[in-house]
Amino acid sequence: MIGTFAAIVGRDVTLAVRRGGDAATVVAFFVVVVTLFPFGVGPEPNLLARIAPGVLWVAALLAATLSLDRVFRADLEDGSLELLALAPCPLVVTVLAKVLAHWLTTGLPLLLAAPVLAILLNLPWDGFEALIGALALGTPSLSLIGAVGAALTLGVRRAGVLVALLVLPLAVPVLTFGVAAIEAALTGQTAAPHLMILSGFLLGALALAPWAAAAAVRLALD
């Protein structure tokens, strides 16, 4: 089962890298959205520092949502998904492997790009640790919740926007506590409680989302 899991993760990451565009597009989208803000609200350093946590989180959220549609769709269209569902391992394991691959090719690059963009937005150094911690805990939750949305919309053609409409409202708690963690750190308080709540979300999503997504994939294949 671990061999199967590793094989699927390896394949999905290879596919994302070979296709080139995917991971790079997500990060480029993130960078472009964030750099639009100094143009939009003006280059006033204090204002940018004030809005930086929210801007970084919202942009990361949108960028992660952008790529959700491809988690299952490409495999559905070329017939791979039904063969994956026929593999002699529980479908939940397959789904979890695809979620991990999605995080490795979108969440992780976003996590690496975020500190650089934080400098651009003049985020004070005190907030960096909390920013990275909150994104490290929040982006896997987004991949998990997003997989449910992606699986539920498999029956719909061109579901990209629909996935976003389904997933973004569910991501509000992650956004709230992700931003709160950074703001707490900036005002000299501890970010720990917010990070713990984010961990709680992640564990909850880990326990529920793969089963929900697997059930939705089965429905799509029926």
């Binding site: 061999g3 199967t4 094989a7 699927i8 394949r11 290879t14 596919l15 070979r18 296709r19 269209e77 070329d78 017939g79 791979s80 039904e82 063969l83 994956l84 569902a85 026929l86 593999a87 002699p88 391992c89 529980p90 294949l221 029926d222």
Partner: protein
Amino acid sequence: MTARLAVEGLACVRGERRVFERVDFALGAGEALVLTGPNGAGKSSLLRTLAGLIEPAAGRIAWDGADVAEDPEAFRAQVQAVFHADAVKPVLTVAQNLRFWARLRGGDDARVGRALERLGLARLADVPGGVLSAGQRRRLALARLLAAPAALWLMDEPAVTLDRDAVAALGAAIADHRAGGGLVVVATHGDIALADAHRLDLGAARGAA
């Protein structure tokens, strides 16, 4: 001979429509079943139901006497399927494509090499899947059957787009599989030769019911 695969009273409903009902058959080791019937008779639906992708509306499927619904994963380990879609990734090479599917089912690299050889794809092993012709993609899909062990092969129109050599290779592969005790259920319009196979005409089955 005791039946390895036994199907009793199987029915399938798609939407509001009853595609087939009261389908019964039993296959022992080395036996083959050919599904025939006009388009829309439910050949693909029956194969997908056998594979576990479609929940049967009624009836039961048993493998070695045990209902497959009780342990679907154990049953899936016994089944390999080739449906309409070839599941070939354009950005992976032919060998990489096949190795992935083999790894999912405990096949090894030596088996993958032999499978490519057998279906005349060895020369194309390092070519990306995206440049294959339709027939070559079909050969690659069929190579999956040989790349990992499984007792039951489910095939939906396997010979479509294949040239004469490939059809012969497929026929030989099926014969070897059956000689080794394997089972085959295939939906076809008669373009592959199967020695003393059972036949199930889904169009007639529905007309009688």
